[in-house]
């Protein structure tokens, strides 16, 4: 049995192990891995996430048990100090000796610390390992206690430097990025895109200092500032250096391998060093006289080394390595591909810049206009995948290449075409090097017909995940080309879309979940199909969540919103936000009695937090006695109809927005839908009720109401679109009735109206056709169905409080009266909050 020793347990070292065990039969090789850090390999690319969640485990590439399960002998905290090439052995710091047949060096790099006077002072850190971060964090905590508004500088405005700036900001320090070059990310961005990024970052509170050469670091013992020129000083309390990397190539040097003049171990296209039994991969490998500091080439090198060792000698490294990257920097998309900066003699550039929106797009096109040579995207990189593929595969450009970054104007054909136009060799997932051909073949020949199955079989999308939309398209398009219908099935238990299930329930008059599963489903259901079907029952029969409580999401099951510590919040309906002083006093009294944290919600009502399960019926009994009813804040249902004060009080008001909003909220209250629905009514075009970012909105104008639909805030804010202009209240209500009913019947589960409209063939014009022109001939029926829902409304909390059987559900223990004693609160601004998560 041959022995392979891997020195270094970073991302690339881990990837070598992963690829190795996938290809080699257990027992034919012995694999031993040494890591200098105390932890097993973790994802350095996402290091700043450690600050967001403090969870080092989550960053790890694989748990320690994974190495055991795969018979890999792993030594962490164990540095390899010498390689003895003659005896083919290595020794470690603790003076252990091991034999190898093949040695793989994957020692990575260390941060480059420039020789600046004072760089050894306290408070100067580098940004590379979790330990670096922990030390930085500890120091930050210390200075936050002693200094008011502490500042931290980051030396280096490259990719890692900006990540570090984000980390420093998350620590609560004022970040200052200091860069030697006249622009940020000098390797990836041109001057103008860099400026766009800079303006955006500054608006987020990151200070940026360009063209600064640091002369010395000031301070007596610990850092207090940086000196650039004679009178140019920046006072800071901490400094993080992120000025590039240096390969950790000392092992190679000391055992006499061929080295590059500026460091790095020279390798050929088989990843072999000058000693045929020793390989070098990742950031120590000098290939084509270059060190590659990106993860994708490192992974590719790992794959080549694996194949070479197991005898698949045809696998070699590509002659040219693509350095294209796309990343989200502090929430801003940044991407560059191909030749991002291009001299004018090679081609010309098409540039779109919009500083107010922080957008910059540049593509470089050959002189004959036929080929894409490279480009830069800042602010919006959703077209990156397609552009990269066009560049990599030298695909012909459309007639008007500017459409690639501007989108089609004047109704021309969409410029991109489909992912199916790519050649089979096109690498779609660069992290795992999976080509379009492999994906399509896996769909066609191995029957992997979903994104999940493809990810499992090919590993595509399991790296950075950026290629997910494209892989999804490929799977769907391939299925289509095979004549298979692409099913948007709800889950593994129902091979139907939500819309199909809706029709089945209605036609077969099925009334409970188990019957539906027995009739048209399989297995025993899950947390995806249960609430989806519950929502369908609610929409057809208007049954409350109380009848089939175990197919509801926890919020619906207990008619309250579960919060961080397993307690619930309570929200009574306050239609349109209109509330009497008497009602306010009642809420205040009840909240005080049960010691609840209270807050005004975004929907103009009052949320009471921190109620334990057994308290919910008691609280509701009192609220109902005061005339309140449930606000359905827990449901995928109508939440609120927000209103401005309207013509009743406002000197600009065109109509009574509050009255209309109250009527509408009472009309649609209790109606459950594929996702939550929010409404708004504004009394004039100043739009104080923000009706245009709601699922439906009415705005009073001269001569009637304008009706808007399908807007939302949330993760992807979208403005509502105009459905009808200057109509009276009755007509406006009728249109929204039909629109909501149509949406409820046709949308996939958990899809807001805006996302539903995006996918609807024909878009808003089609909705107008259905709702206003009745092109499907279903308007009457939609009207009737909506009226049924309106007429059969009942307050489900009243039902729960009055029915002893339902009420009995509100007990934490089934065998004891007492409350859950594990719930702990701490105080917050004279109220309370859940104790922090451990």
């Amino acid at each position: 049995m041959k022995t392979v020793i891997v020195v270094g347990n970073g991302m690339v070292g881990y990837k070598f192990c992963e690829k190795f065990v996938a290809k080699v039969d257990q027992g034919s090789f012995k694999l031993i891995v040494f890591g200098e850090e105390p932890r097993v390999a973790y994802d350095r690319v996402h290091l700043s996430e450690y600050f967001e969640n403090g969870d080092a485990e989550r960053l790890s590439m694989a748990p320690r048990e994974w190495y055991q399960e795969n018979n890999i002998e792993l030594f962490t905290n164990e540095r390899v100090t010498d390689i003895h090439r003659n005896s083919k052995t290595i020794t470690t710091l603790s003076e252990k000796t091991f034999n190898y047949d093949y040695l793989v060096l994957a020692t990575g790099s260390s941060p480059f610390v420039p020789q600046i006077n004072g760089v050894d002072k306290d408070g100067v850190f580098v940004y590379r390992t979790i330990e670096d971060l922990e030390q930085t964090l500890a120091y930050a905590e210390k200075i936050k206690r002693t200094v008011q508004k502490p500042k931290a500088a980051i030396l280096g405005g490259g990719l890692l430097g900006l990540e570090a700036a984000k980390a420093v900001m998350d620590m609560g320090l004022e970040p200052h990025v200091v860069e030697f070059a006249p622009k940020l990310m000098p390797r990836q961005l041109d001057t103008r895109s860099s400026k766009v990024l800079q303006v955006k970052l500054e608006s987020m509170g990151i200070n940026i200092h360009l063209s600064k050469a640091t002369n010395q670091i000031l301070g007596n013992g610990h850092v207090i500032g940086m000196e650039f020129g004679e009178d140019d000083v920046l006072n800071v309390d901490m400094l993080v250096i992120s000025a590039g990397i240096r390969p950790r190539d000392e092992l190679g040097k000391s055992c006499g391998l061929k080295m590059g003049t500026r460091g790095g171990i020279v390798v050929d296209n088989k990843m072999r060093t000058s000693d045929p039994n020793i390989f070098a991969i990742g950031e120590i490998a000098l290939y084509n006289q270059m060190i590659y500091g990106l993860v994708a080439p490192g992974y590719e090198m790992a794959g080549v080394a694996v194949d070479q060792i197991i005898g698949l000698e045809a696998t070699t490294m590509a002659a040219e390595i693509d350095m294209s990257t796309k990343l989200k920097l502090i929430g801003v998309d940044v991407a560059s591909f191909g030749t991002p900066f291009m001299p004018a003699e090679k081609g010309h550039s098409i540039i779109f810049e919009n500083k107010t929106e922080s957008l910059y797009k540049r593509i470089n096109v050959s002189h004959d206009g036929k080929r894409l040579l490279g480009g830069i995207l800042v602010g919006d990189a959703k077209d990156y995948n397609m552009l990269l593929q066009m560049y990599l595969n030298e695909m012909p450009l459309p007639k008007n290449p500017e459409n690639l970054i501007l989108g089609s104007r004047s109704g021309e054909d969409v410029s991109f075409g489909s992912a199916m136009d790519l050649p089979d060799t096109a690498v779609v997932c660069s992290c795992e090097a999976v080509s379009k051909g492999q994906i399509c073949c896996s769909v066609k020949e191995d029957g992997h017909e979903s994104l999940k199955a493809i990810a499992k079989a090919t590993k595509a999308t399991t790296g950075c995940g950026g290629c997910k939309p494209m892989v999804d398209d490929l799977v769907k398009e391939t299925l289509k080309s095979l004549g298979k219908v692409v099913k948007e099935s709800v889950c593994e238990h129902f091979e139907y879309s939500r819309q199909e299930l809706y029709d089945i329930v209605k036609l077969m008059k099925i009334e409970d979940y188990d019957s539906l599963l027995d009739e048209v489903g399989k297995g025993h259901g899950c947390e995806v199909c249960k609430p989806a079907v519950a929502s369908i029952f609610a929409s057809i029969y208007n049954e409350t969540a109380n009848r089939q409580e175990t197919i509801q999401d926890t919020n619906d099951r207990f008619l309250a919103n579960i919060q961080r510590n397993g307690t619930y919040s309570v929200v009574p309906r306050v239609a349109a936000g209109e509330i009497t002083p008497k009602q306010l006093l009642a809420i205040g009294r009840i909240a005080q009695k049960y010691d609840l944290y209270t807050k005004i919600t975004g929907g103009q009502r009052i949320d009471m937090f921190g109620a334990q399960l057994h308290e919910l019926p008691l609280i509701w009994e009192e609220l109902i006695a005061e005339g309140f009813e449930t606000g359905q804040a827990y449901g995928k249902s109508l939440r609120t109809v927000k209103s401005c004060v309207g013509s009743t009080w406002c000197r600009y008001g065109m109509d009574e927005s509050v009255t209309f909003a109250i009527d509408i909220e009472n009309r649609y209250k209790g109606i459950r839908s594929p996702h939550k629905i929010k409404g708004g009514v504004s009394g004039c075009i100043r739009e104080c009720a923000e009706a245009r970012n709601k699922d439906f909105g009415f705005i009073a104008v001269e001569g009637g109401w304008n009706v808007y639909i399908c807007g939302n805030g949330g993760a992807n804010p979208q403005h509502a679109q105009l459905l009808a202009e200057k109509v009276d209240k009755i007509t406006a209500t009728k249109y929204v009735d039909r629109f909501l009913m149509y949406y409820i019947q046709t949308a996939p589960p958990l899809t807001r109206t805006a996302a539903w409209l995006d996918k609807l063939d024909g878009g808003i014009d089609y909705v107008k056709d259905v709702v206003i022109n009745d092109c499907l001939g279903i308007a009457d029926q939609l009207d009737k169905e909506m009226q049924h829902l309106v007429d059969t409304y009942k307050c489900e909390w009243k039902e729960a409080v009055e029915n002893p059987e339902i009420r009995a559900r509100y007990s934490h223990f089934v065998n004891a009266e007492e409350a859950d004693d594990s719930i702990e609160f701490v105080s917050l601004r004279e109220q309370k909050m859940p104790k922090a998560w451990v």
Binding site: P63, E492, H493, D514, L517, G523, H524, G525, C526, E527, C529, K530, P531, E549, T550, I551, Q552, D553, T554, R557, F558, I562, R564, N565, G566, R809, H812, F813, V814, N815, A816, E818, D820, S822, I823, W837, V838
Partner: protein, 125 residues
Amino acid sequence: MISNLNTYEVVESENVSIWFKAAAVVKFPKNGGACVKYKDKQIAVFNFTREGTWYACQNLCPHKMEMVLSRGMIGEDQGVPKVACPLHKNSFSLKTGKHLNGDLDRIATYPVKIEDGFVYIGFSE
């Protein structure tokens, strides 16, 4: 609260020394769960009516250490019976306690038996 986690250890049916009489069968919802108190432990008990089986596991979700699993929806993933935590939808096998959609720690499971209309949970101490 981490120490909580260590108080839950798998009990196999051959190691049961105490059958704890928890509550009447009718007190548990069909195809759903409820929480049982045993000493200082909280145990989620599920009446998987569709399978005709009962399951018990710790009520504590190992993700954020909240006592909520009994309020989760149950179901099945390719034949494996499971519970989905109501907070973040982490699913755990009701048979083995294994985390099915991630790498969280296994949860502890306990044997259940039904006698004379009562639910009993098996403990080793």
